[in-house]
Subunit: 241 residues, 2 copies
Amino acid sequence: MGIERRSIVYDGPGGPFEGVAVVDGDWDTPRPGVLIVPNVLGEKEQDRVTAERIAGLGYAALVADLYGQGKRTTRDSPDPAMYMNHLNADRPLLRDRLFASVAALHALPQVDAARTAAIGYCFGGKAVIDLARAGGDVLGVVAFHGIFDPPGYDYPCPIGAKLLVCHGWDDPLATPDAVTALAAELTGAGADWQLHGYGGAGHGFTDASMTGSTRPGFGYDANADRRSWAAMTGFLAEVFG
Amino acid sequence: MGIERRSIVYDGPGGPFEGVAVVDGDWDTPRPGVLIVPNVLGEKEQDRVTAERIAGLGYAALVADLYGQGKRTTRDSPDPAMYMNHLNADRPLLRDRLFASVAALHALPQVDAARTAAIGYCFGGKAVIDLARAGGDVLGVVAFHGIFDPPGYDYPCPIGAKLLVCHGWDDPLATPDAVTALAAELTGAGADWQLHGYGGAGHGFTDASMTGSTRPGFGYDANADRRSWAAMTGFLAEVFG
């Protein structure tokens, strides 16, 4: 059958939600599973392609929907950040929707629920750090050009999920001060964390749609994209054992 | 013949110097070469073992001697840092001895001089960052728990060698402020640089002889050791092409 996409509708606070699972119909044993948390715009073609790359590694993938069925924006929307802003203003709700998405991943018949992880981009990078903070039922998380501000609620320590934070050092949304604050927070929380900082790279370094961006500190960076993906594959191999 | 060690005596300011080359006598074509710069104590068994691991990757290795033939210390020496302190106080001399060591690497018959790199530990990590700063003739450098203070001399920009800086975040010899200062320096110098920060790890995280250290911020860390070695192997594969 090969790798294929399937729409997955699942429940949660403010739902229903609609994600996209990518699995190989030929798999006959459960696989490690990876949740993919999209950027500000929500679930879209770019994330489905990422999910196919994850499936190509031999893992089941689910693109999460944190906004709700049909709630998506584009760069040309009147307010591209409208759904994200709602969750940024309510981090406990973000947490609970992440938990619902992890539950949907665990419910996929192709997934070994004891071996799952989450990756996320931009806002999704922030989300997966929150998932680790909040004790989400995953072995590890990888943030690509995420945002680091703490969630404002107490969370259980030590953090159980391992973290890999892939960061463009020129990212104006996550300054060096924010990096060192995150490092101190995660160390204080007893996490197993790693930071990969990429010199000369900015926000959105994995996002080919931002190639040629003229906004200072924003844009695609081929080196950081390739290196962070390689780091992620090594990280997932480690956490899945 | 298999992998074997050979003593290499070479010239330079304050020399002669005596390093140890590790190559496979069965190699019949030149290989990429890696200079290994030891920690405070200078060239020793631990570095030769590292060189053997490098040779196991298919690269020719040379353990550098920056102090001079016979000038070595141990942790039990009256002043273990005596030779290092001399070079820390004279960074142009450190640079020139690094250049002499790179020349010795390039002169090995097993080495493709167009494809070389340098790695270093602790003081050697600082040294390889200086080597990149100073325009040393290598494609890349990897620092393991290095020290980041700038060398105090002007150096040519942009920096040509790629840098991978593997850093234990709890290292008191390289504080978060020193990390962000190095990042700013390298960015300003136009370098292709990466920082891998390891949460909970301290100074000497690759050094098994520091296992069980009770000195805060110092000690071996198996996770950071394994992860940084894997990062180095990927980095060397990238720079050697």
